[in-house]
Symmetry: C2
Subunit: 479 residues, 2 copies
């Protein structure tokens, strides 16, 4: 296919042509001293006026790249090109390469705002505040237990003592019976999701995700070439019958759910629906990915029972993480899966990053087996509930008539619907000006008019100020 | 395309057909109560004898999946399918999915052998033995400095104090001037290579790698859909003029080199060729990836100067790592690149794994700034040289006439050519039986008859036994 200038492009045609010729010359298509095609011929080939080509040649001449002599056409300059000009690689073109899509614009905007303005009240990042993370406990463990493990490349599935500690943890806290050989240690739930989308699914495969959901915010699904179908979430989670419909229509290959205090809605999948979901999965031979980072934050009552503990048929790939119950900076998560899957993913992960550092794995293993763990969890649950109540009280005070929500019984987030129609981007911008960031609901796939507030990340004393800043921003946009 | 049974397959044709029909039924292609195609029609479609289809139907009947009544054909059983049989997902099919290729068979074989037989002498894994890793120093640092950083999601480019420490380290040890904003902390060189192949190159792009090389052993290049072209390595490294030829022929988009104590050959790219390489890169606007994990192991003399420190044009993406000079289990590497590239890769990496744990990054920052670092390096260089000499002495003693090599002046590996033609796989198998593993040269893309011995990984006192085991294996195959 011949190159043609882009008539809709921002650059004038003659400049596009000059750039193109320069590139071709630099690539060696026209060596130093060689004759370029005549103005008339080039104009014909490119479908432009001859005057446009004349302008392009003039441009190249002014840069010393070509020389024209009357009657003998236009030649690539010898002096210029034999002195071999230097070219820095065209990095911006490399940045645009690759099948890996960038993060969503809103998420990048929030990240930049937080980097530029550290005083912003962060009600956007889905993580615990410094005072909720067990930093002191971890520091204590690091100085109590002298580090002794061999610091070589780790076992591809992850540090053996951590996998063994997790067998006990999963049994005690999540009623999941498993063995160390069915566990893969990952860099948080994120890496589990990444490995599944990259290694177990093929481009073109259809998968189902919740609507709204954290998965929706991840371009990695599109980067892997997957076709996404949505399972609407109501107050009891997804409706399992929808899965059957999607299976019939699109031959979905996998279902991703976050059944316990779902991000962003806070919803818990009802017990009745859990049973139906597993039933349908086994009927269709369909794998369910259960992403379960929040369950142990449950305020007051017992944590919901995971699908995996009810999964007699072996349909569930279970994903856990310390990010939301201990510290996201540990970067420790795990997957419980059939050994063949664990092996396949461990082999791929070795090629990507050679596995995790042994040090945080050792620390994590010590932490869950230590006497610090249970008291930490209890304190965390109380503090999160306290922060949730602060956020709710502030919203009731600041925006009694403009917002509605259901108080979540666990997790880090409050999902709110605005009564008025406000453009997402404008609201975020205005909120940043008022000193607070939140995540627009559209990031998770919802219609306009939803917002997610994370109450876990901000200091307790900042929550009211944050919500008040948001309220001001909203009022300003509505006035 | 219609499914056809596989005549070369291990399963009998009728079983393949029964399996296929069962699957189609379970997918709902033939709902309960529906009529299957007639025996004659199916035989025609599948290109088999009618008797084969009769057998397949009998098989399905025996499982209660279908029912036949004389004169009215074969129907999908209602009782069976409405009772909804349970299907575990077909995990093996999921394992085969994805564009991500598994590791090379030889490498998986070596990994398995080491896992099953921990007493094997490991002359295959490219890493330091426990006594060479600074485990005590790191343990001391961990208990000296109480851990204090916030354990939240890290800065996407990596822990700021580590990036700052690396600025000083790169200047002092590698003569590279850079700033923290041009550094990306990665999970070893491996993750740098992975990010580059995934995010800066597109499927179909051509790239050049050394022949033989570590890159050759990585299926990730193929997984990313790249076309690989080889740059032969002689005693002075690659010949830069070859790059120009590949560029003209295939429009290569990037060149990957490991110029200092190359893996596997141990070669150092000559100074003259470094200049030429940079010259050609700048002439063509071609990025060079300089993978430099070994340079600070240099025995005796000063470490070779990296391309990056001579790169006035900004053509080089520089990759470093602590794996080969401190501990691979730290999983700390770095890339020095234009800020736009660092940002793009950091954004992608966030989506893959949300970055590295803060803990080993803090430990690494402390280590390179501590008084432990320089003495550790000096000891490491001496010990590696000592182990190299042990390996060479053993080879001279055990196989004086069957093997040739050049003594490397740095790095972890000894690259050897056998005088005789022996099949790679047989030699490896026999060596495992004799208690030692090495890596066949073909893993790195070389012709048959080359082997890589890593002398860094085994205990000094095991090297002679390991080489002797290899020698026995070789003699046995030659006899
Ligand atoms: C539902 C869900 N899954 C996965 C993740 C990724 O967390 P991590 O990788 O830190 O475990 C998050 C983080 O926000 C999440 O909300
Ligand atoms: C040349 C080269 N590059 C990169 C790597 C990957 O090492 P790491 O990710 O541990 O830094 C290796 C390991 O063998 C290597 O030899």
């Amino acid at each position: 296919m011949m190159w043609k200038p882009d008539r809709q492009g921002k650059k004038p045609l003659y400049e596009q042509i000059a750039d193109h010729l320069e590139q071709q010359i630099s690539y060696g298509e026209f060596p130093p001293g060689s004759l370029l095609p005549s103005e008339r011929k080039l104009a014909e080939q490119l479908g432009v006026n001859r005057s446009t080509v004349i302008l392009a040649f003039a441009e190249l001449r002014s840069m010393g790249i070509v020389e024209s002599r009357t009657g003998s056409g236009t030649r690539v300059s010898r002096t210029k090109w034999e002195a071999m000009p230097k070219h820095t690689p065209n990095w911006s073109r490399y940045c645009e390469g690759g099948s890996f899509l960038p993060n969503l614009p809103f998420l990048r905007k929030i990240r930049e705002a937080l980097a530029q303005q550290p005083s912003l009240i962060d009600m956007a990042s889905g993580e615990l505040s410094p005072d909720l993370a067990p930093t002191d406990e971890i520091a204590a463990l690091m100085s109590e237990h002298r580090y002794t493990s061999y610091l070589g490349y780790d076992n591809p599935q992850g540090y053996v003592p951590l996998r063994e500690a997790l067998v006990g943890y999963l049994d005690a806290y999540r009623k999941i019976q498993t063995t160390g050989s069915s566990i893969l240690i990952t860099s948080g739930s994120q890496q589990s999701l990444y490995l599944i989308t990259q290694c177990l699914l093929s481009p073109g495969d259809a998968v189902a995700i919740e609507d709204p959901s954290y998965c929706y915010s991840l371009p990695m699904f599109q980067s892997a070439g997957l076709r996404l179908f949505r399972l609407p979430v109501d107050q009891d989670g997804v409706r399992p019958e929808d899965i059957r419909i999607l299976y019939k229509k699109h031959r979905i290959k996998m279902v991703f759910v976050n059944p316990n205090f779902q991000n962003p809605t806070g919803t818990v999948l009802s017990m009745e629906r859990r049973r139906q979901l597993l039933h349908i999965a086994s009927e269709l031979g369909l794998p369910i990915v259960e992403d379960d980072p929040f369950s142990l934050t449950a305020y007051g009552e017992e944590a919901p029972v995971p699908l995996k503990s009810m999964d007699t048929n072996g349909s569930v790939l279970y994903i856990g993480s310390f990010s939301k119950i201990a510290a996201s900076g540990l970067r420790i998560g795990w997957m419980v899966a059939p050994h063949s899957i664990v092996e396949r993913l461990a082999d791929a992960r070795q090629q990507m990053d050679f596995g995790l550092s042994v040090i945080p794995q050792q620390v994590a293993a010590q932490f869950i087996q230590s006497s610090y763990f249970q008291p930490h969890l209890e304190r965390l649950q109380l503090q999160l509930q306290f922060k949730r109540d602060l956020a709710i009280a502030s919203l009731r005070k600041e925006l009694p008539d403009s917002i509605s929500f259901t108080a979540p019984q666990g997790g880090l987030h409050l999902w709110c619907q605005l009564r008025h129609d406000v453009p997402d981007g404008k609201l975020l911008e205005e909120a940043v000006r008022k000193g607070v960031v939140f995540v627009p609901g559209s990031v998770y796939g919802s219609d306009a008019g939803f917002v997610r507030f994370t109450y876990a990340r901000a200091k307790a004393e900042d929550i009211e100020t944050g919500i008040s800043g948001f309220a001001q921003a909203l009022r300003e946009l509505l006035s």
